[in-house]
């Protein structure tokens, strides 16, 4: 451990620590522009100069380029070093424009801070300034090249760190230019990070362009709930509106960065269409009246037809408090539910994942970066959990191999292996890989029930043989790897895959490897929902019972079945049959139109709350602001009203958990304080996994993990892992799957006007062989007919996917809900080319 002295203070640091980091550990912040802990050092900006008084180096040196060594004596305040840094700043400011007042970086600009700190107040150079043309970089990032100080952070992040190639360095000398070869939207779904890492205002936030200054914002630690990873963010609020969301450093989850879907996915909270008042039959009424009506009607239906006539549906985007309050309400009243998933297959996958993710197998997103081999099964990171791409990229940069077993056209910014097979064949291939990988000693040592699963795996079939070479190479790589991570999706995969992946991981761990299991779940709090909805009915069964008249009232808590249920006509019909439809939501969902009683709820920015991410990590979002109509909307963009009032306008909504508790209580006077603490106390008492939940004021920033231990299983899984069966392979049949896209399918982010500009047009992906057979070419429009309806959509042809599969996004601008199910089999004559203008 090198021991060195910086500014007369002694410190021991880890070998390999740079002097700039050693100083930071002492609380001495050496100025820096190009150095960034995630991007490393390049020594480009020269502003971290310090003076080395003793040790292996002498004189003024760059502290970001030199490893801390024993015996070093460093001074950051030496006159020579201070003078050097002063001249560096003056030199960086030579060409810097005089535009701080109209620059959005002003107020949190590193260059501005350093210029002021270095005392460079007056420009001595009287020559002309170099200028650059700017480029249009899309709807998210604003470019202003005049301000550049050539620190190379942007190109290092964009190319080296994240692997995308379309933004980089052009030109030489003082004419160096950072941009694209041609103006155009940035390809990377991580482009928003350029804004965070640029030390000055070359890249600024376009959605919040010219809106405010950092010092006027209330900044609150929050979470991203646009996918299951639960990245840490910090939200900036002003005038009852979220203006901007940035990445918040997290050692365990997202590191320094977040993806664009998370960064710009918050606009649903201040949507103009957001429902803010309680409604009965579409008429605005007071909150109390709404609650009273709902409670009376629910009680009446319960009394008339028994408590089973009321069913409830919860949501995977609700906080843990809301989910717990709903469970408690259902338990107390004897209602059916809560159901969290509209799709039963997905529900089974998520519940399996939550049960199988034992403490010793669970790894965090940052642990994935340390792996030397990553096998991803049924996961499409860019579209399902974008930040996983950056973690995989870091592992790949360190030499890890990445292999994907997936039917979809996986696009990643680095090289990887892709075994593209149809969803039905995935389990077979995975089982085959498992059989090839596990050595004989491990098999002999297996428990009988585990041995049974292993023995049930069939031998090679023709499917395996077509991929034989690749599979052998993959099996070989897995055998050679030491730190392995299995990433497993829960969306397009069949029911056995999440279990098989866990089984694979357990067996590999028995072989002495360090194995991690990393599931991707649908929804920010899907893990919490899986833990809380142990033996709930399925959504399909509830619909059946509504049709049969057994269920008469339905409570929808922050869940919009219209967005997920794959048979829209049936859903419309069934919801009409209800005596009472109670809807609680903070989005302008379609179900509000059908609702008898509607209660507006609060977003996580207004209510805060706990969310459990896909690795079982409970994380906390703080309350960012009080809610209500944003001033910009309330005053129509003009100056705020000059009248005073006691209440925040449009702030009738309550947290969903508050509404649920008010429904549970017989008297209407439910206190507004202490309800959340009550719910958490109930949760801790009833659910053993939550017993470790620390109090709010002592909640660690990286959260706590609540994975089941080695022996806890919610369901006995071992017997369900049967032989993978393959549906009859008919050349005429095609498997149709519906999938997520980065932009355009996720419920919250599609309400962001800026991300809507990033969405590509919905299209069906088809393998070139299938397209040739059907005589379809790129860009054609086809009508896909299912049992329940027709979906017409443009075709994109690719070779990078499994043949015999059709892939349709669950795009908000596509009526995919006419397909009838999220996964169906269609015969080729059900796919018909149509002319553009032909109605479908």
């Amino acid at each position: 451990m090198p021991k060195l002295i910086i500014d007369n203070q002694e410190i021991d640091v880890q070998p390999g620590t740079k002097v700039i980091d050693a100083a930071e550990q002492l609380g001495i912040m050496i100025p820096r522009f190009c150095y960034h802990p995630a991007l490393g050092s390049v020594g480009a900006c020269r502003v971290c100069a310090v003076k080395f008084l003793q040790g292996p180096f002498k004189g003024v040196q760059m502290s970001c380029m030199i490893d801390a060594k024993d015996g070093m004596v460093v001074s950051t305040t030496d006159e020579e070093a201070v003078d050097f840094r002063k001249y560096v700043i003056e030199w960086l400011m030579l060409h810097h424009p005089h535009d701080c007042p109209v620059c959005d970086e002003g107020g949190h600009c590193l260059l501005q801070d350093m210029t002021v700190a270095g005392g460079h107040g007056l420009r001595r150079y009287q020559g002309k300034k170099r200028t650059h043309h700017d480029q249009h970089l899309g709807p998210l990032v604003q470019h202003e090249m005049n301000r550049c100080i050539q620190c190379y952070r942007c190109s290092r992040f964009y190319q080296k760190f994240s692997g995308y190639r379309d933004l980089g360095v052009l030109q030489i000398g003082e004419r160096v230019y950072f941009g694209r070869y041609q103006a155009g939207t940035l390809e990377s779904p991580f482009s928003g990070n350029l804004i965070d890492i640029c030390p000055t205002g070359v890249y600024t936030d376009k959605p919040s362009r010219f809106i405010g200054r950092r010092w006027d914002y209330e900044r609150t630690p929050s979470l991203c709930i646009n996918c299951s990873l639960g990245c840490h963010t910090v939200v900036s609020t002003r005038y009852r509106e979220i203006v901007r969301q940035e990445a918040r450093f997290s050692e365990a989850v997202n590191g320094h960065f977040i993806c664009d879907r998370g960064r710009y996915g918050f606009f649903y909270a201040s949507q103009e269409k957001r429902p803010r008042y309680a409604q009965i039959n579409g008429n605005e009424v007071s909150w109390e009246k709404s609650i009273q009506t709902a409670r009376d009607q629910l009680n009446r239906i319960s009394q008339e037809s028994g408590p089973g006539a009321v069913a409830s549906v919860g949501s995977v985007r609700s906080s843990l408090e809301t989910q717990a309050a709903l469970s408690r309400l259902c338990q107390k009243k004897g209602w059916q539910g809560p159901v969290y998933w509209i799709d039963h297959g997905q529900e089974m996958n998520v519940k399996t994942a939550a049960a199988e993710l034992a403490d010793e197998l669970a790894v965090s997103l940052r642990d994935v970066e340390q792996a030397d081999y990553i096998l991803a099964v049924g996961a499409d990171p860019v579209n399902e959990a974008p930040m996983l791409v950056l973690a995989l990229r870091q592992a790949q940069r360190m030499g890890a191999k990445v292999c994907f077993l997936d039917p979809r056209p996986i696009g990643l910014p680095f090289s990887f292996q892709h075994i593209s097979v149809a969803p039905q064949a995935m389990d077979l291939i995975l089982a085959h890989l498992l059989k090839e990988t596990i050595d004989q000693d491990t098999i002999k040592g297996l428990e009988p029930h585990e041995k049974k699963i292993f023995d049930a795996i069939p031998n090679n079939s023709h499917l395996v043989s077509s991929n034989q070479k690749l599979l052998n190479a993959v099996a070989n790589d897995i055998r050679l790897s030491q730190r392995l991570v299995i990433v497993c999706g829960t969306d397009v995969v069949s029911e056995t895959i999440p279990e098989r992946a866990a089984y694979f991981a357990r067996l590999l761990a028995k072989m002495g490897k360090q194995v991690g299991l990393f599931y991707l779940l649908p929804g920010a709090n899907a893990f919490g929902a899986a833990l809380l909805s142990d033996d709930a009915p399925t959504f399909g069964r509830i619909l059946d019972e509504i049709e049969a008249g057994l269920v008469r009232a339905l409570v929808l808590v922050e869940n919009d079945p219209y967005g997920y249920y794959p048979d829209r006509p049936r859903l419309e019909r069934v919801l009409q049959q209800l005596d009472l439809l109670l809807v609680m939501d903070y989005l302008d969902v379609r179900t509000i139109q059908d609702a008898d009683v509607f209660l507006p709820t609060l977003t996580l920015y207004e209510a805060g709350g706990f969310f459990v991410n896909q690795e079982g990590r409970i994380q906390k979002a703080s309350i960012a602001y009080q809610g209500g109509h944003p001033i910009s909307q309330f005053s129509n963009g003009n100056h705020p009203p000059r009248s005073f009032r006691n209440q925040i306008p449009g702030k009738e909504a309550q947290p969903a958990w508050q509404a649920l508790i008010e429904l549970a209580n017989e008297n209407s006077a439910t206190p507004k304080q202490g309800v959340r603490a009550d719910i958490l106390a109930w949760l801790v008492k009833t659910h053993p996994l939550f017993s470790k939940l620390p109090p709010d004021n002592a909640f660690p920033s990286d959260g706590i993990r609540i994975n089941p231990g080695k022996d806890i299983h919610f369901r006995s899984a071992a017997d369900r892992l049967v032989v993978p069966t393959l549906a009859s392979e008919s050349a005429d049949q095609m498997e149709l799957i519906t999938v997520d896209w980065t932009f355009g399918t996720e419920e919250l982010s599609t309400r962001s006007p800026h991300l809507r500009k990033m969405e590509s047009k919905p299209c069906v992906f088809m393998h070139s062989n299938d397209a040739a057979q059907l005589d379809i070419s790129e860009g054609d429009k086809v009508a896909v007919r299912s049992d329940t309806g027709i979906v017409s959509i443009h075709v994109t042809i690719t070779d990078n996917m499994a043949p015999g599969v059709l892939i349709i996004p669950r795009h908000q601008r596509l009526d995919w809900q006419h397909l009838g199910a999220s996964k169906i089999t269609v015969s080729k004559d059900q796919i018909r080319k149509i002319r553009e203008e032909e109605p479908c």
């Binding site: 170099r130 200028t131 010219f210 006027d216 705020p640």
Partner: protein
Amino acid sequence: MNTDKNESPMTQILADLKALAIGFATTFKHLFQKPFTEEYPEYKRPLPARSRARIILTRDPDGGERCVACYLCSAVCPVSCISMQSAEQADGRRYAPWFRINFGRCIYCGLCEEACPTAAIQLTPDFEMCKQDILALVYEKEDLLVDHGGKDKQYNFYQYAGVVTDVGEKGTHIKEEKPVNIRSNLP
């Protein structure tokens, strides 16, 4: 007062009378002179241009609004009496859709004027703005904006800033080179 014990009482009285007489004589003399007092509000004294009272928002020589809504005045204001919202105009300029100063709070310290990078916000000598209704002291942008340049007639921020607006493209502002051609390595 002279308290010499050797003086007789008579001398003392005479001295006091003399002092009285001189005092009254001075007053009497001034009765026939023109008074120095300026009768406000009948007479309004012209104040120096640098006097600090009612705040205005000025315009640049071309008639454009100078205020770029950079928030520096509201940040520096010790009594937080300035509030505004910034936005982008169609021509690329940053401007304030609304700008409000609460003169009920303002202490006329002039820090906002000192902080203003575009010479937009200026204090004027006009101090007569007292109102019965305190809400009438809340001035909106239309009350603040004037159609002249105030104390600085010439300055146009956008001629120096180097950003693209209606005032000019890249490389056309004061002390700027032509933009770099990134497709050529020739100097």
